[in-house]
C-alpha cells in the first residue's frame, strides 16, 4: 500500500495526517467496537488505556505479592503448616527468603520446599518448648542466632 516511487499521479495519497492518525490507532487495534477503527473515539480510549497502565504498575506489585502468598500458603498447607506459622518461623531461623523465591521453590523445587517446611516446624516446636518449658531444658539447636558482623 505504500507508494514511494515515480507514479505520483496515483489517487491514493498517503498524507502526513495518515501517519499521525496511524500512530494513535496502532495502540487501539486490539480494542472492542468502533474505538479500534475511528480516530475520534480511539484517541480517548488510548489515552485512558495509557493512564490505566501507568497506575496499574503500582497495583501489579500488590497483586503479585498476594499471588505468591496464596501459593506459599497452599504449598505449606500440603506439609501441614499454616502460612503465618511458616513465614514467622522461617524468619526466626534467619532464612531471609522473599515470597517470590519461596513461591518459585514451591513450584519447581518441591523437595527443597518440604525441607524448608520441616525447618519451620522444628523451629516452631523449639519455640513452644522455650516458652512453656521455662528454664531447665537446653536451648533448641535451630533457635541459635548467627551474628554476622
Amino acid at each position: 500500500m505504500v507508494v514511494l516511487s515515480a507514479a505520483r499521479w496515483v489517487r491514493s495519497r498517503l498524507t502526513d495526517r495518515f501517519w499521525r492518525v496511524q500512530e494513535v490507532l496502532k495502540y487501539a487495534r486490539h480494542f472492542r467496537g468502533r474505538k479500534n477503527r475511528c480516530y475520534k473515539l480511539a484517541v480517548r480510549s488510548v489515552r485512558r488505556a495509557f493512564v490505566r497502565s501507568t497506575k496499574a504498575r503500582r497495583e501489579k506489585k500488590r497483586f503479585l505479592r498476594a499471588l505468591w502468598i496464596t501459593r506459599i500458603e497452599a504449598a505449606s498447607l500440603e506439609h501441614g503448616l499454616k502460612y503465618p506459622a511458616f513465614i514467622s518461623n522461617l524468619v526466626k531461623s534467619q532464612v531471609e527468603l522473599n515470597r517470590k523465591v519461596l513461591a518459585d521453590l514451591a513450584i519447581y523445587e518441591p523437595k527443597t520446599f518440604k525441607s524448608l517446611a520441616a525447618l519451620a516446624q522444628r523451629r516452631r516446636q523449639e519455640g513452644f518448648l522455650a516458652a512453656l518449658g521455662d528454664g531447665k531444658e537446653p536451648e533448641g539447636i535451630f533457635s541459635r542466632i548467627v551474628h554476622h558482623h
Partner: protein, 132 residues
C-alpha cells in the same frame, strides 16, 4: 573478545537537497574520523542525484535487523552522535523485555504436580491393587 554487532552503515542522501546539509558536512569532515575510530564497521556513502527520498542513515546488524534513522535537518555533530549510538547497539529489537531472566530447565527436582506430596499408593492403578 568484543565483537561489534554493527555490520555496515549506509549513508543515503542527495547532494543537492537542502535538508541533507548536515549529511554532506558529516561526509566532508567527520566521516573519516568515525571510520577510523570504528574499524570493524563498514561505512558506505551513497549520494543519489536529483530529488528523492529523505536523507537516511541505515544500520545493518549481524543478526539481520536493519534500522533506518532520518538525518534530515540534523547537524554534523548530531549525526556523529547518532552513528556512535547505532554502533554501540546490538541488533535486538527495542521492545519491552518481559523478564530479565530465562531458563530452559527451570526445575531441577521435578516440577510440582498434584501427586508430588501425596502417598505413593495413590499413583498405583489397575487390577493389581487388591486389599490383601
Amino acid at each position: 573478545r568484543y565483537v561489534r554487532q554493527l555490520q555496515r552503515l549506509q549513508l543515503l542522501f542527495s547532494p543537492t537537497a537542502a535538508d541533507a546539509r548536515g549529511a554532506r558536512q558529516f561526509v566532508e569532515e567527520a566521516a573519516q574520523d568515525f571510520a577510523r575510530q570504528h574499524p570493524d564497521v563498514v561505512l558506505y556513502v551513497s549520494p543519489h542525484s536529483g530529488p528523492g527520498p529523505a536523507p537516511v542513515l541505515r544500520a545493518e546488524y549481524l543478526n539481520g535487523t536493519v534500522r533506518e534513522e532520518l538525518i534530515a535537518s540534523k547537524t554534523s555533530e548530531e549525526i556523529v552522535q547518532l552513528a556512535t549510538k547505532l554502533a554501540n547497539q546490538s541488533g535486538l529489537d527495542i521492545i519491552r523485555i518481559r523478564k530479565p531472566f530465562h531458563t530452559d530447565n527451570p526445575s531441577v527436582q521435578g516440577q510440582w504436580h498434584p501427586l508430588t506430596n501425596k502417598p505413593s499408593i495413590l499413583t498405583i492403578q489397575g487390577p493389581r491393587l487388591q486389599p490383601q
